[in-house]
């Protein structure tokens, strides 16, 4: 059983939903990332999503674009991202870590080399936003060979046939994109999400996480009520951006914001 599967099994047993915060590796500075990851876990994260910075993040809104730019300006690479996970694992063996990024850095490192290094660093899954299942055969084979879960997106525009196809390629969980738009948008319609999730459950027993556009604790709780996991990115990354010059307050505020979401989700 993979670390991701184990975590979802445990949550199901406890009757809780997963909270999955996203930060970009190296944002606001490379030295902060591992510590931020631990902070997020202490504040209630069940799984961590770590963004691999990319020069052309086409599916991201301005907040995560700027996070990528900050990290790249400081020279953060995929290899360094893997090193950060390795460091994180020295003090946390249980919290699953999923890398989220765009295909090109993975392709340039080589799928085999990436999967091997990632597995040994303690990564549990990978989501490459611009890799639909149609093009994913080689990447998925490499991930599976090293016991990593390939995570795929399902979108509001995905037809039932596509949902089938995506779910049969995925493991760990599937990631439902809550709206037509980029990350950090603000137009989430929970009822529409609920309807779509019902349809997706016809195709898969995999847990379904929902992300894109979850800005506050209230929305997190409402989304958690209809899904298995809530992914929060831009709302947290925005905090890091605002508090970049006050490292102590940055960790504190990040923890408080996530803890609010945790509490709202668990209370629901």
């Amino acid at each position: 059983m993979s670390r991701i599967q184990a975590r979802f099994a445990q949550l199901r047993h406890q009757g809780r939903k997963a909270l999955i915060p996203f930060i970009t590796a190296g944002d606001p500075m490379p030295s902060a990332t591992v510590s931020l990851m631990h902070t997020l876990v202490r504040a209630g994260a069940d799984i961590l999503e770590l963004g691999v910075p990319f020069s052309d993040p086409m599916a991201d809104g301005p907040v995560i674009q700027r996070a990528s730019e900050r990290a790249l300006k400081q020279g953060v690479t995929l290899q360094q991202t893997l090193d950060m996970v390795r460091q994180f694992r020295e003090h946390d063996e249980k919290t699953p870590v999923v890398l989220m990024g765009y295909l090109n850095p993975f392709e340039i490192m080589g799928y085999g080399r990436f999967a091997e290094t990632a597995a040994s660093a303690g990564v549990d899954g990978a989501l490459t936003v611009d890799l639909p299942p149609e093009e994913s055969h080689e990447f998925v084979s490499a991930l599976r060979e090293h016991g990593l879960d390939p995570i795929f997106l399902v979108a509001p525009t995905s037809t039932p046939e596509r949902v089938e196809r995506i779910c049969s390629a995925a493991s760990g969980f599937v990631y439902y994109v809550s709206l037509k738009g980029v990350t950090g948008s603000n137009r989430l319609d929970v009822t529409a999400v609920e309807d779509k999730l019902k349809a997706i459950r016809n195709s898969t027993d995999l847990p379904i996480g929902v992300g894109f556009g979850i800005q506050d604790a209230e929305t997190a709780a409402r989304v958690a009520a209809v899904s298995d996991a809530v992914v929060v990115g831009s709302a947290l990354v925005r905090l890091l951006e605002t508090l970049v010059d006050e490292p102590a307050r940055m960790e504190q505020t990040l923890a408080a914001t996530l803890a609010d979401m945790r509490e709202a989700m668990d209370a629901a």
Partner: protein, 409 residues
């Protein structure tokens, strides 16, 4: 005027791409899931209208009466004499309405957009030629139009920005990344994914996710079809070499594609060498890049060793792009086409030469093709023929050229 004019229409001559949009290992569809279904719809609509006589009639008639096709194939006699080798012909895409080849494609995609019931058009633009060509067809059809343009390009292409605004388009300055064409494309994709129900994204080059590389090629292939016929009529034989500049590569594919099966016709795609390939400051992924995935397709890219896309450099905004159409990547690997590069300096010299001896001001993009022609022609026999795609006119560039030469207008 007894010259037989064949119906102008998109037609696929080679079986590529495959159903998934692949040219060998290149091309494909690398986008976020939200866009997969809209791209399927676009593929289906395109395949359907490609066979629809009414659509093709309207396209032919627009290309003839609105764009002004066929464009002439002009024998550049004095340029030929100066170069002292092969006879040089210019395919005069600069004479099209809006002043470049870009309109061949926007006319086609706009007709498709209307048939698909879309009310809003978006586009990315580098030099502004594709933006102008898109704003033009949107104005003509009464469709809302938003053009994304890198903030740096807006500064160096002010006349085209004003033209787009006159045509009723909104021009959005893109401040992210390197503030050039690649960032404009990112932003257009973000807009599309957000407004996908109402919006048709008119990509201006033979790159992007399937079906764009094939569709844009098919709309641009009118250039090569006319060239083939005109060359036979005017010289009695096929050309020996075709030369075109390559940024994304739409004018080059348009010229090359109808000749792919004519193995005796050599293809030369000319990339922007900027300050020189050896300096790293250039925009020549085919000459000096390597394969990767960007903007929806696998192709040659300008990237660093960690797979990040790097900034490109070219005096020509229209060639200042880190990728290239996947069919060019395939033509390179199969050896069917040769890819070379011309520096800023070489392009500027060619710009002045053509202006002075032929009375034609070429776009800085097309000047790269002319710069390589100046090297190629002397190596060929006087009985041989080169056709250069004069993809656009240079009026938009006179401020850039003046500034480079220390002249304020």
């Amino acid at each position: 005027m007894s010259q037989k004019v064949e119906p102008i229409r998109p037609q696929t001559i080679t079986p590529l791409p495959d159903a998934g949009g692949h040219f060998g290992t290149y091309g494909g569809r690398f986008v976020a899931e939200t866009l997969m279904e809209p791209l399927d719809e676009l593929s289906l609509a395109y395949a359907r209208y490609l066979k629809d006589p009414e659509f093709l009639r309207e396209l032919d008639s627009d290309l003839r009466d609105y764009v002004g096709r066929p464009s002439p194939l002009y024998f550049a006699k004095r340029l030929t004499e100066k170069l002292g080798g092969a006879r040089v012909f210019l395919k005069r895409e600069d004479l099209n309405h809006t002043g470049a080849h870009k309109v061949n494609n926007t006319v086609g995609q706009a007709l498709l957009a209307r048939r698909m019931g879309k009310t809003r058009i978006i586009a990315e633009t580098g030099a502004g030629q594709h933006g102008v060509a898109t704003a033009t067809v949107a104005a003509r059809m009464g469709l809302e139009c938003v053009v994304f343009m890198g903030a740096e390009d807006i500064e160096r292409q002010a006349p085209n920005v004003f033209r787009m605004k006159l045509l009723g388009a909104s021009v959005v300055a893109v401040e992210s990344g390197s503030r050039t064409l690649k960032d404009a494309l990112n932003e257009a994709m973000r807009d599309w994914v957000t407004n996908v129900d109402s919006t048709f994204y008119i990509i201006g080059t033979v790159a992007g996710p399937h079906p764009y590389p094939a569709m844009v090629r098919d709309f641009q292939a009118v250039v090569g079809r006319e060239t083939r016929e005109q060359c036979l009529a005017q010289t009695g034989r096929m050309p020996d070499a075709l030369v075109a500049c390559v940024g994304g590569g739409s004018n080059a594919i348009g010229l090359f594609h109808p000749f792919i099966a004519d193995r005796q016709v050599a293809f030369y795609g000319v990339e922007a060498a900027g300050d020189g390939l050896e300096t790293g400051r250039h925009a020549a992924p085919l000459c000096a890049g390597r394969p990767g995935v960007l903007h929806g397709n696998r192709t040659y890219l300008m990237e660093d060793r960690d797979g990040q896309i790097i900034e490109t450099h070219s005096v020509s905004a229209g060639l200042d792009y880190p990728g290239v159409g996947p069919e060019h990547a395939w033509l390179k690997d199969t050896g069917r086409a040769h890819y070379v590069a011309a520096t800023d300096t070489e392009a500027l010299r060619a710009f002045h030469d053509l202006t002075e001896i032929e009375g034609i001001i070429p776009a800085l993009e097309s000047s790269h093709a002319l710069a390589y022609t100046a090297k190629l022609a002397p190596t060929m026999g006087r009985d041989q023929t080169i056709v250069v795609n004069l993809s656009g006119r240079g009026d938009k560039d006179i401020q850039t050229v003046a500034a480079l030469e220390g002249i304020s207008l």
